[in-house]
């Protein structure tokens, strides 16, 4: 069975290589995603205790041996995850046509993203009740995305953007590059004040150092930001309660403002950009059939599947009008401010035109890839990878050969819980986890030292992996297993003796 697992994994690897070559327009992504999901599910079921918190994973690995099967799963996950990241980056680069030089414009216009997302909402199922359910969940999701965005802002202190005692729930921070892009673009426009605007290099580049003739041009960004912010603050001071909130808890208030901004964008899309029927001239008259179904797409899905692809130029254009015109309503109503704000803030034709003409990634695979990157499943496997990397770099590592099979151990605690052990010190320091296809077993991946005793038993069969096979395949592999078992034993012994 050990060979069966190896066979499947190698097959997977070959497929992965094949998909690399044949991954034009991200075609290989769905296959890679399916594989990584399946193996991650197995890893979670067989290698990590049920309901384990992500934060406890490193301690768990420190105190428990990692079986060779689990090692193979996690190596494969690591490989596939890297491959997905690489292919996604290639697709992103290929799809980035904002500057008009995209060579293979396989992507659809921005609004196609919304259409793809709406496919998940069957006709006539977006009831008021469902909308309400979706909105309730939005609160925490938006906070999480806000924090992810704040983490991504460079040159500005994180503490100034996030409330001190704020602990986001179910939030996979730092892993959410797309949604953080959306929140980051908002924060950059609203907050990223003076960091970069007083850029001396730019000043010299623009010839200002040799005279002040271009000074006003150089000062534009700082002028614009300060004018917008100070106007917003003056207006907020009209309501003492709002003003107090702003000056006593600015980060917390910014979270509310961000939620309102999200709602404003959704309302803008629903009632303007994607309005189904107008009374009068489109975008000038009244929208009599808004795209209501958009409210049944969850915030996280909508942002990761679509809004995060909004060009920064659109957000940069909308935010000043939003901040200066709607800050009081935004703070008062938070995530339900959109419809109120839509009435007072007129979004420009420029923004609407950019949205309509912008080319962004719109393939289903890209969206699925983003949802995988956000998943709890990935959070678990990535934590495992991180923990194993860390432990292998900082602890003395052994391979313990037991009756149940081989296992990797990192501490004395783990050794105590392992009986009948043949200890094989790992001679090569494991500073990384990037094991290539075909080198996923301990024997091939690691240089092992000599052992005083050698385990006789082969590895246990992976129940999860077996389930993936059809009955006929299972039977064939069972036969194969018997034939290969002895051979494998001999090879293992031979390898360990060397």
């Amino acid at each position: 069975m050990k060979f069966l697992i190896l066979f499947i994994l190698i097959l997977t690897a070959f497929n992965a290589f094949a998909s690399e070559k044949d991954c034009k327009d991200g075609k290989c992504l769905p296959r890679l995603l399916r594989k990584v999901r399946i193996i991650s599910e197995i890893y979670r079921a067989e290698c990590i205790p049920k309901n384990m918190k992500v934060s406890d994973i490193e301690n768990y690995h420190k105190e428990h041996p990692l079986t060779e099967q689990c090692w193979r799963y996690i190596s494969e996950i690591n490989y596939l995850d890297d491959e997905i990241t690489k292919q996604q980056a290639l697709l992103d680069a290929q799809s980035s046509c904002e500057n008009g030089d995209c060579k293979n414009p396989v992507v659809k216009p921005f609004f196609a993203n919304i259409e793809d997302l709406l496919k998940a909402v069957p006709a006539n199922t977006c009831t008021e009740k469902k909308k309400e359910r979706v909105w309730k969940k939005c609160g925490e999701d938006l906070k999480c995305i806000f924090v992810a965005g704040a983490l991504g802002i460079s040159g500005y202190s994180f503490e100034k953007l996030i409330p001190k005692d704020y602990q986001p729930k179910r939030c996979n921070l730092g892993d959410d590059s797309c949604s953080s892009k959306f929140a980051g673009a908002f924060l950059s426009s609203a907050m990223h004040f003076f960091s970069g605007v007083w850029d001396l290099t730019k000043m010299i580049g623009e010839g200002i150092a040799n005279g002040s003739k271009k000074f006003w041009h150089w000062a534009t960004r700082a002028e614009d930001h300060s004018s917008t912010s100070q106007l917003a603050l003056a207006k907020a001071s009209e309501d003492p309660g709002i003003f107090k909130q702003l000056i006593t808890d600015f980060p917390g208030t910014m979270m509310k403002i961000f939620s309102a901004f999200y709602d404003y964008i959704v309302t803008w899309f629903k009632e303007d950009v994607f309005c189904k029927k107008w009374s009068g001239k489109p975008h000038v008259g009244k929208c009599i059939r808004p795209l209501d179904d958009i409210e049944c797409v969850g915030c996280k899905t909508l942002i990761t599947g679509s809004l995060c692809s909004l060009p920064g130029t659109v957000i940069a254009e909308i935010v000043p009008a939003f901040i200066s015109g709607g800050i009081t309503a935004a703070i008062k109503h938070g995530a339900t401010a959109g419809s109120k704000l839509a009435r007072v803030i007129k979004t420009s034709n420029v923004a609407r035109t950019i949205v309509k003409s912008s080319k962004t990634i719109a393939t289903g695979a890209s969206i699925t890839s983003k949802s995988y990157r956000l998943s709890k499943l990935r959070a678990i496997t990535q934590s495992s990878i991180k923990a194993l990397k860390h432990l292998s770099a900082t602890s003395k590592t052994y391979i313990a050969s037991t009756k149940a099979g081989k296992a990797m151990v990192f501490s004395k605690k783990a050794l105590k819980s392992t009986t009948e052990i043949a200890l094989l010190p790992v001679d090569n320091a494991m500073t990384g986890f990037a094991y290539k296809a075909g080198a996923r077993s301990f024997d091939k991946a690691l240089m092992l030292g000599k052992a005083s005793n050698i385990g006789e038993q082969p590895l246990n069969v992976s129940r999860g992996l077996l389930k993936l096979l059809s009955p006929s395949m299972r039977s064939a592999h069972e036969t194969e297993k018997v034939r290969e078992k002895d051979k494998e034993k001999v090879e293992t012994k031979k390898a360990l003796k060397q």
């Binding site: 990223h192 003076f194 003739k213 000074f215 006003w216 002028e223 917008t228 603050l233 003056a234 001071s237």
Partner: protein
């Protein structure tokens, strides 16, 4: 007795408000009923007046950390650029420019060169007066911006007092 108290009160020195950031210290005169806030929308320091006519006026202070001596003649001759940039900003936030405050330059009471410019605009039915001050304090440029409702003209002299009292002894 009350005369003595009054004399003592009038002769009390105005307390200097220190605006510290990293190695930089900018000082301005402090007013008792004004409120200082930090890091709102990324603005390092912003000073709010008490509410008047339904709104608080405000003035911001930023040490740009840029070492550069501004040339008043250049700024004066190119102020049209400032004006066109302000028109563009007004369009972006749905405001309407009313008029521009011409560029002027003067030395404040601490001897630092101040370059002032501004404009008046209307936003959501209210008229505002905005002034920008670029102050050459020793080698560095300190940026300040004041904003008030048109009817809060009494705050203009206070803004002027802040700018005149501005010093940057801590700036090396």
């Amino acid at each position: 007795m009350w005369k003595l108290i009054l004399i003592l009160f009038i002769s009390l020195p105005v307390h200097a408000l220190e605006l510290k950031r990293n190695n930089s210290v900018v000082t301005i005169d402090e007013l008792p009923d004004w409120t200082l806030s930090k890091d709102l929308f990324g603005i390092p320091f912003i000073y709010f007046s008490p509410e008047q006519n339904g709104q608080r006026s405000n003035i911001s202070f930023t040490d740009t950390e840029v070492e550069f001596k501004l040339n008043p003649n250049d700024l004066q001759s190119t102020q049209e650029t400032y004006q066109s940039n302000k028109r563009a900003w007004a369009t972006q936030v749905n405001a309407k420019p009313i008029s521009f405050i011409p560029f002027e330059t003067f030395k404040n009471k601490k001897g630092h060169q101040v370059h002032k410019i501004g404009f008046n605009y209307e936003h959501e039915g209210k008229r505002y007066v905005e002034s920008s001050y670029y102050i050459n304090c020793h080698k560095k440029i300190i940026f300040s911006k004041s904003l008030r409702l048109k009817e809060n003209s009494s705050h203009e002299s206070l803004f002027s007092d802040f700018i005149h009292s501005l010093d940057c002894g801590g700036v090396k």
